[in-house]
Amino acid sequence: MYRYDEFDRAFVNERVAEFSDQVSRRLSGELSEDQFKPLRLMNGVYLQLHAYMLRIAIPYGTLSSRQLRKLSFIARTYDRGWGHFTTRQNLQFNWISLKDVPEILQHLADVEMHAIQTSGNCIRNVTADHFAGAAADEVADPRPYAEILRQWSSLHPEFTFLPRKFKLAVTGAPNDRAAIQVHDIGLELKRDAAGATGFAVWVGGGQGRTPMIAKKVRDFLPESELLAYCTAILRVYNLYGRRDNKFKARIKILVHETGIEELKRDIEAEYEALRAENLELAVPAEEVERIGRYFAPPAFETRPAVSTVLERARLLDPDLAAFVERNLTAHKQPGYAALTISLKGIGLPPGDATAEQMEVVADLAERYSFDEARVSHEQNLVLPHVRLDDVPAVFAALKAAGLGTANAGLVTDIIACPGLDFCALANARSIPVAQRLSERFGSPARQREIGDLKLKISGCINACGHHHVGHIGILGVERKGEEFYQITLGGSADQSCSIGEIVGKGFSSDEIVDAVETVVDTYIRLRTSPQETFIEAFRRLGEAPFREALYAEAV
């Protein structure tokens, strides 16, 4: 993991002092709410329906046990005993007093954490594959590059008042688990024929009210050019992105309205000029190596690829067997696995964890996973490096803490935004719908029968619940004071990225769960075999049979 040195510590402490001063000027009335708003947003403080919300940055989703314990402490001390993990690998506390924020930030700084740029029209927390450094299919570890980008973008003097928020994601594997094609800049680490490291660069993806898949602007950008190229993209966006309408201000609209070819020429011209005048932006190999050392693989043991301990245990315990089948991911080191801890307990709000659960995960990370835990953009936690021999013990501890749900990647592994229960922007509730769907499909046999299926719920058109890229997406809307839910089908956030299409008119809150079940049953009826996943079947069949099934019944 990255560790702060004196410089990093001084930076964060200065920032805490600066923001504390801004808070006291707001509390004294020197700053109006209007003047304070962008300042607090830059530090992750939102004013929500009931209270202030504080969003804490978890850079590329990586946490140590010490950090997780601190988050647990903050949940107990300043919130109501729980926190909410988000689709950008961050953590939100929903019941915070503004006056406590400086103190919380100091606690965070003590464990090398902060809330810088977790909101506002700036470069947001950089995200990466939650299996980075562990996944068997990885070309190279994306975290050193994500860390370089995090540092470079921190309080960047030029890019702090952009037209709109700006999100970067990095994947180190061809199987994209970081949803890079729905980010403002998506980076795919790869090697060229000579073995040199670089990136395919994608620009202008995003969700929200105008979902767009990013366009590829570079097939291979050498790693040394990372910052110069990102600076060029950001500068073109900062100067020419629309500022007249906040709903048209993301870079995806600039890409769309300018045309990717012309915009690419602008970016390339800016990049060439920047390179010529600012040699300091080049990323030297030594710097990649220096940062890379923080992410060196832990001291893995040489172990057999198959664990007889685990194989025997799973024969005896069907719950463990189900957990192993769904929640373990192949590791690059034989005898190890990356283990997903589902925060999608049946009938529970997606992404929430109690302070006690955070403690349990911290203990397990410390004991069994080289002191590391991860947050996934699918709102789960991950122990990245677990010996297969230890999986039965880890599972038993998780189960005892209510964290043993064996549903990773299944229909109940739902992404949902906070919705109208918390969010000032929402039109409809998301969490109760997620809870009812989770209960409807909660039986292990039913879920297994359905297989891989990504169900994602947003409570408004801003799409924080990623419904556009759900195999089945649900969008909450409000009509004449009543909540309705539209269904989108066929979205996907991985390397075969696609935006789901609205299938027809919306359903009431009472109808929506049945409607989703109709879609699922239609898939099961029409699939060629249980091996054909929902998204494969949908791509083969198109939406017609699903639309018929949904709306024929209503006639």
Partner: protein, 168 residues
């Protein structure tokens, strides 16, 4: 309204805007808009008194590249402090076009943005917001002094490649 140049409060601004109609005075420092400068570029060539340029929000440097050296002052207006285009303009002026004159931020210029503006190359601030005027006058406008990226102004390097420390 108060004007700070290089950190010091300036009692009287030596610059005046060009009159909307009538000729541009030839005997004193005058600030012209981009359109007017481009329209009168040739007749301004023989001018001896200092010339300043004012860029309104949304105006860029296109068409001005060859003339930057003629200006002793460039004024960049921030219509709202959340409008960050001026930061990129400042860097382009300083780093691409080698502008060494006074670079002035005007409009909605507030205390918490000034440290960023300074790093992008602004050295002059025209302020209407009273608490900001007071804070500047009392030397209380200090941002974070540790930085992770090179900027448009000289700063002490701090060991590793991009790290910089400003006087704070």
């Amino acid at each position: 309204m108060a004007l700070f140049v290089n950190g010091a409060l300036v009692g009287e601004d030596a610059w005046t805007p060009a009159p909307a109609d009538g000729p541009i005075p030839a005997d004193r420092p005058v600030i012209v808009g981009k359109a007017r400068f481009l329209a009168e570029r040739d007749s301004l060539a023989s001018r001896n008194a200092p010339l300043g340029l004012r860029l309104e929000a949304g105006e860029d440097l296109d068409g001005l590249e060859a003339d930057i050296g003629r200006f002793a002052l460039v004024v960049v207006r921030f219509p709202k402090y959340t409008d960050g285009r001026g930061y990129s303009l400042a860097r382009l002026l300083r780093e691409r076009h080698g502008f060494t004159g006074e670079l002035r931020a005007t409009g909605d210029v507030l205390r918490d943005q000034i440290p960023y503006m300074r790093r992008c190359g602004f050295d002059s601030f025209e302020i209407t917001h009273e608490p900001t005027v007071r804070a500047l006058a009392e030397g209380r406008v200090r941002g974070v002094s540790h930085h992770y990226q090179p900027s448009a102004v000289p700063e002490r390097t701090a060991g590793l490649r991009w790290r910089r420390v400003s006087a704070g």
